[in-house]
């Protein structure tokens, strides 16, 4: 079997991740910070250590401003619903995932104003368009770090500078980039970084997080949920302290341990080395697919400016047929359709049909990419 769907979730996971997840339940199975006995304290230590790992990995100054969530969708909702009020203005790109667009469309009904900056069909954005979309009421710019449909990387640091000079903050959806390219929240000026653990960070599903920068006044960022935190139990109001304010309920310690192991695995292998490998695979995919008659390639066509996400259409064939034949006849798993990003597909001109998306990962081999290219070629001919 050839797994070409790492943009949906990475697979297989490093064995170290699986081991860390079983080991934490055996060794540190208490409820972190709730009970005060040895197993409870050990669980809290595991969580704190991963908080520190995450902070270091993204160059965040304060580990207590790393908030664990269920996934990037939860992190994005925390930031969007917690920060925006009626009357606020938000600038967003046209390449966003529904994890951003659906909360924003909901907020729009509550009186938040949206400006959607159209991207080019190759997914790139004009900085001038972003600057022109800013108003005196703009409180937040929301931007996907890289498209999950065509992989195009957006210039986050430059957009952050535009946001800051207009007095706004920036929220980045790093679902596709966290773990795959270096992210330095301080150098890049990212106020709110939302990430998911189950993609390039190599962790399991069910864990993600929001990294909150020093420029964010947490008094103005309301939590999505309120409840038990193990702290200040005498009070019936939600504590304001970090990270408890945003972490009510027993945390996913198994997921957190897996995320920590994923990050350690990445550091051991080297994010740059993995990036080089994935660029090589992306180049091979682009080169191989682009010469097949009847195959149309989307995206920027440059592995240095995109993630390992390659979308195609095959003339005369439905994307669903291509996907099913790849699975049934060639044992190749990919994802077809709209990839939860209708706005992105409208931008690249593939709405409502969608595309066939190939996403190699850290553990994909060049041979697997070549077999994929051959399979697509066979499908176009019959």
């Amino acid at each position: 079997m050839i797994y070409m769907d790492n943009a949906a979730t990475s697979w297989p996971k490093p064995p170290e991740v699986l081991r860390a997840m079983t080991e934490v339940l055996e060794r540190a199975g208490g409820n972190p910070g709730r009970s005060g006995h040895r197993l409870s304290i050990e669980a809290a230590r595991v969580i704190y250590d991963v908080r520190e790992e995450v902070a270091q990995f993204f160059h965040a100054a304060d580990p207590l401003r790393v908030v664990f969530t269920a996934n990037v969708t939860h992190a994005l909702n925390t930031a969007l619903l917690g920060f925006l009020d009626s009357g606020d203005h938000v600038v967003v790109s046209s390449m966003e995932h529904n994890a951003v667009m659906r909360p924003l469309r909901y907020l729009e009904q509550q009186g938040v104003f949206l400006s959607i900056v159209p991207c080019a069909p190759d997914g790139s954005i004009s900085l001038q368009d972003v600057a022109e979309a800013m108003t005196v009421k703009t409180r937040l710019v929301v931007i996907v770090h890289a498209s999950n449909v065509i992989g195009t990387i957006l210039p986050v640091a430059e957009i952050a500078a535009i946001a800051h000079s207009a007095g706004a903050l920036i929220l980045v959806d790093a679902a596709q980039t966290a773990g795959a390219i270096p992210i330095d929240v301080q150098a890049m000026g990212i106020d709110l970084l939302a990430f998911t653990g189950h993609k390039a960070l190599q962790g399991p599903p069910g864990i993600g997080g929001l990294v909150i920068g020093a420029g964010v006044d947490v008094a103005r960022l309301h939590p999505l949920m309120r409840g038990g935190t193990g702290s200040q139990s005498e009070l019936e109001v939600q504590p304001e302290y970090m990270p408890d304010k945003y972490e009510s309920g027993t945390p996913n310690i198994v997921g957190i341990a897996g995320l920590g192991a994923g990050i350690r695995w990445l550091k051991h292998r080297g994010v740059d080395a993995i990036r080089d490998h994935e660029k090589m695979l992306t180049n091979a995919l682009i080169d191989g697919l682009s010469v097949i008659p009847g195959v149309k390639l989307y995206g920027i066509g440059d592995s240095g400016r995109s993630m390992p996400v390659v979308s195609i259409a095959v003339s005369g064939k439905r994307v669903s047929e291509v996907g099913q034949r790849l699975d049934d006849e060639f044992d190749i798993l990919c994802r077809v359709g709209l990839h939860c990003a209708p706005s992105a597909h409208k931008t690249i001109g593939t709405f409502p049909e969608g595309t066939v998306r190939f996403a190699p990962g850290a553990l994909t081999t060049l041979d697997e990419v070549q077999q994929t290219i051959k399979a697509v070629e066979r499908i176009t001919r019959s």
Partner: protein, 74 residues
């Protein structure tokens, strides 16, 4: 009076963070359940040798760790 003091925190994360810092500096510290006479909290507190009180609190102040209160155990 006992030889120990305890530090209470607003969040478990700060307690763990402090333990890690202080162990690195070779202080004899231990995380314990918050003594009921000090707080109704259900979380954890950091026990330390009262002789180290000033040096321990200095480490935490310098690292900007938020603490709730410091007590000598009876």
């Amino acid at each position: 009076m006992s030889q120990y003091g305890v530090i209470l925190f607003f969040t478990t994360s700060s307690a763990i963070q402090s333990e890690k810092m202080l162990l690195k500096e070779s202080f004899a510290v231990k995380l314990i359940p918050v003594p009921r006479e000090l707080s109704s909290d259900c979380g954890i507190a950091l026990r330390f040798d009262w002789d180290d009180m000033e040096r321990v609190t200095l480490v935490l102040v310098e690292a900007k760790v938020e603490t709730d209160s410091v007590h000598r155990l009876p």
